[in-house]
C-alpha cells in the first residue's frame, strides 16, 4: 500500500500501536490507479475450471477477447491465450468460441 500523506493525514509511516502498516493509509483512502493489472485483487484462485485454448485451432477471431469481463484473454499474432493470474473461470470464452478451440478443464487436473 502506498503512502500518500498530506499534512493533516495520519502520520506517514510512523508507527501506530505496534508500529504496523495499518497506519500507512493513503490520503482520504484514495487508491492509486493500477498499471496493467490490479495486483491488490488477484482472482486466479476463483477458478473451478480452467479454460484451455488449443492455440493451433484458434482462428484469432477475437470473439472471446471481446467478451471476457476480466480482460483475461491475451492476444498474440495468430491466436489468443488466457491470463490465469486473474481468470475467474466463468467459461464465457469457451461458450462463445465459434470453432470450439477452448475447453473447460477441472482446475485440479493441473499441478500448478
Amino acid at each position: 500500500m502506498s503512502v500518500v500523506n498530506h499534512g493533516g493525514g495520519a502520520p506517514a509511516g510512523s508507527a501506530g500501536p505496534g508500529g504496523q502498516d495499518r497506519w500507512k493509509t493513503p490520503f482520504a483512502g484514495d487508491a492509486e490507479a493500477p498499471v496493467g493489472e490490479n495486483e491488490r485483487m488477484i482472482t486466479g484462485g476463483w477458478r473451478i475450471v480452467r479454460p484451455v485454448v488449443d492455440t493451433k485451432a484458434c482462428t484469432n477471431c477475437l470473439i472471446c477477447w471481446i467478451y471476457c469481463p476480466d480482460a483475461c484473454i491475451v492476444r498474440f499474432e495468430e491466436y489468443v491465450d488466457v491470463n490465469y493470474k486473474y481468470c475467474k473461470g466463468c467459461g464465457i470464452c469457451t461458450r462463445v468460441c465459434p470453432v470450439l478451440c477452448i475447453t473447460d478443464v477441472p482446475e485440479l487436473d493441473f499441478a500448478d
Binding site: 493533516g8 493509509t25 483512502g29
Partner: protein
C-alpha cells in the same frame, strides 16, 4: 483600497465569493439563504464574476455537484437553510471524507415544525459532527470575512476540510450593516488560488472514495480527526494574517467580552450575541462581575480556549438557539459541549447552566438576557456547588439539594414560571 457599503449578510457573502474567484456554484432556493444565490446570479449576468452556476434540483444535488466540482479542482460554493440543510445530509460526510474544501453558507432556519422560517441554529448543528469546520458570523462584516478565512483554512493542505459558514437567518442575512468590502488585491494576497491536494485528472489517474477493508477504517477516520484538530492552529494563523492584511482582528475561536475578572460568564454564538453583549455591558455598569464569551468556532470546538477563559468564573451559562430533544442535561447542543469542555477544570466548583432561547426565530429579548444574567448572578452569590465527591463523602443534605438545583431552562417558559432561583 476597499470601500464601505451597507450590505445584508447574504450580499456580503456574495462579495466574498466573488473576490474568492469561486469557480462552481450550485444553487437551490430556500429562504432565507437564497438571496446569496440571486446576488451571485446577478454578478454572473453582469459579468462581475466568471463561474459556472448550476441550478440544482435540490440541496442533495447542490452538495453532489460541489463534491464532483471540488474533486475536479474547482473552488466551490453552495448554501442552504433549514430543512434544505438536512435534505443534503447524505453528502456531507463524503465531502469531508474525500477531504474536499467545499464551502457551504448556512443562513439558519427552523426545522419543521414549526413551519415558520425563523432562524434557529438547529439546522446547522444537526450537521456538526460531519467533519466540516463550523462557525457563526454575528454581522454581515463577519460573514464576509468568515467566508474568506474559511476558504483559506479549509483549503490549507494541513486541513483539507469543507466548511459550514453560518449566519442567523433574517437577523444577519437580511438586515443591512456597514461592511468594509476589501480590495481584491488584499483578498488575492490573503487567499491564494485553490491548489487541491489531488484532482480528477486523466493525466494522473486515481480512485477517490474506494471501498475499504475494515482495518483501513480507524486510520482513515483518524486522518479526519487529526485534520480537524490541526484546523485550530490553521484557523488561528489565518485570522492572524487576516488582521495584518485587512486590519480587522478577530479572536479566532472564542471572543471574550468583559470576561477577565468575571464571576459569571455567558457563552453564546451568532447574532444574538449582540443583544447579550448589550445586556452584559449594562450590568457591568451596575457593578456586576459579568462577562461574555462568543464562540466563533463550533467545529473545531475550542475547549481549551473556553476552559482557560472560564477559569475563575463561578457560574457559566450557555445560550442555545437550538432544539435538542432528550439531550443530556436537558439544555441544547452547546450546553453539553461546554460541560464537556469544562469538566477538566474543577467542574464541582463551578455551576454550569443552560438556556434554550429564541426558538422558531423568536427574538431573544433584552429582558430574557437580563433574566438569564439574574439567574447566574443569583447562583454566584450563593457560592460554589461542592464537588460531587464531597457530597458523597460528606452526606450533606444541603449540598445534595444544591446538586439537584435546576440547571437548564427553556425561555420564556421558565422565566415566566418564576424558575431560576436555587
Amino acid at each position: 483600497m476597499g470601500k464601505k457599503a451597507l450590505l445584508t449578510g447574504v450580499v456580503a457573502v456574495a462579495h466574498a465569493v466573488k473576490m474568492a474567484d469561486v469557480d462552481v456554484i450550485a444553487s437551490y432556493p430556500i429562504r432565507p439563504y437564497t438571496g446569496v444565490m440571486s446576488e451571485l446570479a446577478r454578478m454572473i449576468a453582469d459579468g462581475e464574476l466568471d463561474a459556472e452556476m448550476i441550478r440544482a434540483e435540490g440541496e442533495h444535488s447542490q452538495l453532489s455537484i460541489a463534491y464532483g466540482a471540488s474533486a475536479a479542482g474547482a473552488r466551490t460554493f453552495v448554501g442552504s437553510s433549514g430543512v434544505g440543510v438536512t435534505y443534503a445530509y447524505e453528502v456531507y460526510s463524503p465531502i469531508s471524507g474525500a477531504r474536499l474544501p467545499v464551502q457551504m453558507m448556512i443562513a439558519d432556519r427552523t426545522l419543521d415544525p414549526p413551519g415558520d422560517f425563523g432562524s434557529e441554529h438547529t439546522d446547522a448543528l444537526c450537521c456538526r459532527d460531519q467533519g466540516w469546520l463550523m462557525g457563526w458570523a454575528e454581522t454581515p462584516q463577519e460573514a464576509l470575512d468568515m467566508c474568506l478565512v474559511y476558504y483559506r483554512a479549509g483549503e490549507d493542505p494541513q486541513v483539507s476540510l469543507p466548511q459550514y459558514a453560518c449566519q442567523d437567518g433574517y437577523f444577519v442575512s437580511h438586515i443591512t450593516g456597514e461592511v468594509a468590502i476589501p480590495d481584491p488585491a488584499q483578498v488575492r494576497e490573503f487567499l491564494p488560488p485553490f491548489r487541491p491536494v489531488r484532482v480528477l485528472d486523466p493525466a494522473k489517474p486515481i480512485a477517490v472514495g474506494p471501498q475499504i477493508e475494515p482495518s483501513m477504517g480507524p486510520p482513515l477516520q483518524y486522518q479526519r480527526y487529526l485534520a480537524m484538530q490541526e484546523s485550530r492552529r490553521v484557523l488561528t494563523e489565518a485570522y492572524e494574517e487576516f488582521a495584518g492584511i485587512f486590519g480587522r482582528r478577530y479572536a479566532p475561536l472564542v471572543e471574550a467580552f468583559l470576561a477577565d475578572d468575571a464571576e459569571v460568564l455567558l457563552v453564546t454564538s451568532g447574532a444574538h450575541t449582540a443583544t447579550a453583549r448589550n445586556v452584559v455591558q449594562k450590568l457591568r455598569g451596575l457593578g456586576e462581575k459579568i462577562g461574555l464569551l462568543k464562540l466563533r468556532s463550533i467545529r473545531p470546538f475550542p475547549d481549551r480556549e473556553l476552559a482557560a477563559a472560564c477559569d475563575g468564573a463561578k457560574v457559566v451559562g450557555v445560550l442555545d438557539n437550538d432544539a435538542a430533544f432528550g439531550i443530556s442535561g436537558g439544555g441544547g447542543v452547546l450546553y453539553t459541549e461546554v460541560c464537556t469542555a469544562l469538566q477538566g477544570g474543577g467542574l464541582g466548583d463551578r455551576e454550569l447552566l443552560g438556556f434554550v432561547a429564541g426558538l422558531g426565530g423568536e427574538v431573544i429579548s433584552r429582558e430574557e438576557f437580563y433574566w438569564m444574567a439574574q439567574v447566574m448572578l443569583d447562583r454566584a452569590r450563593r457560592g460554589p456547588v461542592a464537588a460531587s465527591g464531597k457530597r458523597e463523602s460528606g452526606g450533606d443534605a444541603g449540598l445534595m439539594a444544591r446538586e439537584n438545583w435546576k440547571k437548564t431552562f427553556w425561555l420564556p417558559f421558565d422565566m415566566e414560571a418564576g424558575e431560576g432561583a436555587a
